[in-house]
C-alpha cells in the first residue's frame, strides 16, 4: 500500500503544483505523465535507466514550458484551460500512437533495484522501496520549496494577488512558467518511475489523470502535505477496498471525491478566488 501511495504521490505531485498551486486546470497532466514514460523508455534503450530518470523529466518539463509559453498562458479562466488541455490530450495520445505504435512498452528496472531488500524484518522488492524513497524525497523537496523558501512565498503571493505581486517586483510571468514546467517535469518523473511497474501505453493519459485529480482535490489544493495525505487516503481506499469489498472499491474512490468536493469546500478556497 505504501508503494501504491508513493506512486500516486509521484503522479499527483506535478498536478498539485500546476493545479493546486497555480490554479491551472491541467487535464493534460496524464498526457505529460505518459510522455515521461515513453521518453524514459526511449532514453533508457540508449543510455540506461538512470539517464532516463534524469533526462525524461527534463524533456517533459521543457515541453511543458513550451506549451505554457506558446498556448496555455494565453488562456484566462478555468473553462478554456479545461478545454484546451483536453485538446492537448487528444493530440499527445495520437502523436504517441504515431511515434511508438499501439503496443504497450516495458522498461527493465535497473540491475541494482532488481532483487529484494531485507527491511525491518521483511523482504521487500527493491524497486518498490526505491519508489517509496523517491516519493518521500519529492514530497520533502516540494514542501520545503513551497512552504519554506522565498521562491515558494513569491509563488503563493503571485497566486493570491498577481497585480500586487507584480507591483512589489515579482516577475509573475516567469514564475508561473517555471512552476508549470516543474509540474510537467514531475509528471514526467512519475511516468519514468511507473514504467517498469505498469508498462507504457496510451491509456495512461486518461487513467492517471483521474487518480491525480482525486488526490489533489481530496488533499486540499495548494498544500503539499495535503497531497501526501490525499495520496495515502486514495491508496488506502484502493488497496483495502479492493481486498475487502471488491465490487464497491471503484465506486468508493469517486464517492470520496464527491464527498471531498461537497463537504470540504474550504480545502478548495485556495483557487476559488481567481478561478
Amino acid at each position: 500500500m505504501l508503494q501504491h501511495a508513493a506512486l500516486l504521490l509521484l503522479i499527483s505531485s506535478g498536478l498539485s503544483v500546476s493545479f493546486g498551486l497555480m490554479g491551472f486546470v491541467n487535464l493534460a497532466h496524464g498526457a505529460l505523465y505518459m510522455l515521461g514514460a515513453y521518453i524514459g523508455i526511449a532514453v533508457a534503450a540508449k543510455a540506461g535507466f538512470w539517464a532516463a530518470l534524469l533526462i525524461a523529466p527534463l524533456v517533459v518539463g521543457a515541453l511543458g514550458a513550451a506549451l505554457y509559453l506558446g498556448l496555455l498562458c494565453r488562456l484566462r479562466g478555468p473553462m478554456p484551460q479545461v478545454l484546451a488541455s483536453f485538446g492537448l490530450v487528444f493530440i499527445t495520445v495520437e502523436l504517441v500512437r504515431i511515434l511508438w505504435g499501439d503496443v504497450a512498452l516495458t522498461l527493465e528496472r535497473p540491475a541494482i533495484l532488481a532483487g529484494s531488500r531485507h527491511v525491518l524484518g521483511v523482504d521487500y522488492p527493491a524497486y518498490r522501496l526505491f519508489i517509496i524513497l523517491l516519493g518521500l524525497a519529492v514530497a520533502v523537496g516540494l514542501w520545503r520549496t513551497v512552504h519554506r523558501s522565498s521562491l515558494g512565498a513569491m509563488l503563493r503571493a503571485a497566486v493570491e494577488n498577481p497585480a500586487m505581486a507584480r507591483a512589489i517586483g515579482i516577475r509573475t510571468g516567469s514564475l508561473f512558467l517555471a512552476t508549470f514546467a516543474l509540474g510537467a517535469a514531475l509528471a514526467g518523473l512519475g511516468g519514468v518511475v511507473a514504467a517498469p511497474i505498469l508498462s507504457a501505453n496510451t491509456g495512461m493519459a486518461i487513467s492517471a489523470l483521474i487518480p491525480a485529480l482525486i488526490v489533489t482535490v481530496i488533499g486540499g489544493m495548494g498544500s503539499v502535505s495535503g497531497t501526501i495525505l490525499g495520496a495515502l487516503i486514495v491508496a488506502a481506499i484502493e488497496v483495502f477496498g479492493a481486498a475487502l469489498w471488491p465490487d464497491a472499491s471503484a465506486v468508493l474512490i469517486y464517492a470520496a471525491l464527491a464527498a471531498a468536493l461537497i463537504w470540504r469546500p474550504q480545502g478548495l478556497l485556495a483557487v476559488k478566488g481567481h478561478g
Binding site: 473553462m79 478545454l83 484546451a84 487528444f90 495520437e94 483521474i210 471525491l257 468536493l261
Partner: protein, 309 residues
C-alpha cells in the same frame, strides 16, 4: 439570454432538412449516420442547456444518458412494451440528474465539473460491476418502438424517427429557455447575487435546470438503446461525456443550434476520416484548441459573426 434569431432557426431547419434528404436519398450508411447524428445532437443539446445557459459544465451527461438507455433496456427486457419502457428510461435519467443536480448545485465552475465527473464515474463503475446489468458485456436484444404504418427496423424509418425526436427536443429546449423558468435559470447564471436579491433560490433553480437537461439526455439514451439494440457501460465512462463536451464546444456553446451543427460536423468528420486514417482525433484536438483560442463560440458562432459583420 437566449434569442431564437432568424439565423439560428434557419440553421436548425437547414441541418434537419439536409439530414432528412440525405437519409431519404442516401444508402444504408447515410441512414445509420443520420440516426447517430440525431441522437448525439439531442445529448449535446441537453448539455448546452445546462452548460451554455446555466454555466453548469457537466461531465456526467454520458452516464445520465446511459441510465436512460439501461432503464429502457431493462424495462423492455422485463416485458414492458417499448413506449412505456421509454418512459421508464426517461424518468430514470431525470431522477438521476435531479439527485446529482440537487447535491452539486452549490458548486460552480470547475468544481461542478469535477463533482459531476465523480458522480458519472460512480454510475459507470456500478454498472460495470453489476452482474444484473450484464457488467462489461452490456445487454442485448432490445426492441425498437412500434410506429403506426411503418416498421422502425427499416433504417430510413428509424433515421426519420430520430430526426423527429431531435426536432421535438429542440422545440422543448427553446420553450424551456423562453419560459419564465428559463429566464430565471439564465439570470441565476448571469448574475447570481442579483438573482438571489430578487428572491430566486439559485440552488433549487440550478438543480431543476439540471433535471430538465437530464430528461433530454434520457431521451437520447432511450434512442441510443433503440438504435443499437444494445447497451454497454461504454456509454457512461467519463470520456464519453468529455466527447459530448468537445462536440458542444466545436459546434458552439450557448446557441442551441450549435449542438446540431457540432454533432453533424463531428460525426461526418469521424466517418469520413475513419476511412483513411486512424488518427483523426489529432484533428479534433487541434480544432478544439483553435476554437478555444478564437473565443470559444464554435462553428455556429462563426456563422453568426459573419452575418453580423
Amino acid at each position: 439570454m437566449f434569442r431564437l434569431t432568424t439565423i439560428r432557426a434557419a440553421t436548425a431547419a437547414l441541418v434537419l432538412i439536409a439530414l432528412a434528404a440525405w437519409s431519404v436519398h442516401g444508402d444504408y450508411l447515410a441512414r445509420e449516420i443520420t440516426a447517430e447524428i440525431a441522437i448525439l445532437a439531442i445529448l449535446v443539446l441537453a448539455l448546452d442547456l445546462v452548460a451554455g445557459f446555466g454555466g453548469m459544465v457537466s461531465l456526467a451527461h454520458g452516464a445520465i444518458m446511459g441510465v436512460g438507455a439501461y432503464g429502457y433496456a431493462l424495462a423492455n427486457l422485463a416485458g414492458l412494451p417499448p413506449w412505456p419502457a421509454a418512459l421508464v428510461g426517461i424518468v430514470a435519467s431525470t431522477a438521476t440528474g435531479g439527485v446529482i443536480g440537487a447535491i452539486s448545485a452549490r458548486l460552480t465552475g470547475v468544481f461542478f465539473l469535477m463533482v459531476t465527473l465523480a458522480f458519472g464515474q460512480m454510475i459507470w463503475a456500478l454498472t460495470f460491476r453489476a452482474d444484473a446489468l450484464g457488467g462489461d458485456n452490456g445487454l442485448g436484444g432490445i426492441a425498437r418502438p412500434a410506429l403506426p404504418f411503418v416498421d422502425s427496423n427499416d433504417p430510413l424509418v428509424f433515421a426519420l424517427y430520430a430526426l423527429l425526436m431531435l426536432l421535438a427536443c429542440l422545440l422543448l429546449c427553446v420553450a424551456v429557455l423562453r419560459s419564465p423558468f428559463g429566464h430565471r435559470f439564465q439570470a441565476v447564471h448571469d448574475n447570481p447575487a442579483r438573482a438571489a436579491a430578487l428572491g430566486f433560490a439559485p440552488e433549487r433553480i440550478r438543480a431543476q435546470g439540471f433535471a430538465i437537461s437530464s430528461m433530454l439526455a434520457g431521451v437520447a439514451g432511450v434512442l441510443a438503446a433503440q438504435h443499437m439494440q444494445f447497451v454497454s457501460p461504454e456509454l457512461m465512462v467519463w470520456t464519453a461525456s468529455g466527447e459530448v463536451l468537445v462536440v458542444l464546444i466545436l459546434g458552439g456553446i450557448g446557441s442551441v443550434t450549435g449542438a446540431m451543427v457540432g454533432a453533424a460536423g463531428y460525426l461526418l468528420l469521424k466517418h469520413w476520416a475513419a476511412g483513411w486514417t486512424d488518427h483523426w482525433h489529432l484533428a479534433v484536438g487541434l480544432l478544439l484548441i483553435a476554437v478555444v483560442l478564437a473565443g470559444g463560440r464554435g462553428l455556429s458562432g462563426l456563422l453568426e459573426r459573419r452575418r453580423d459583420a
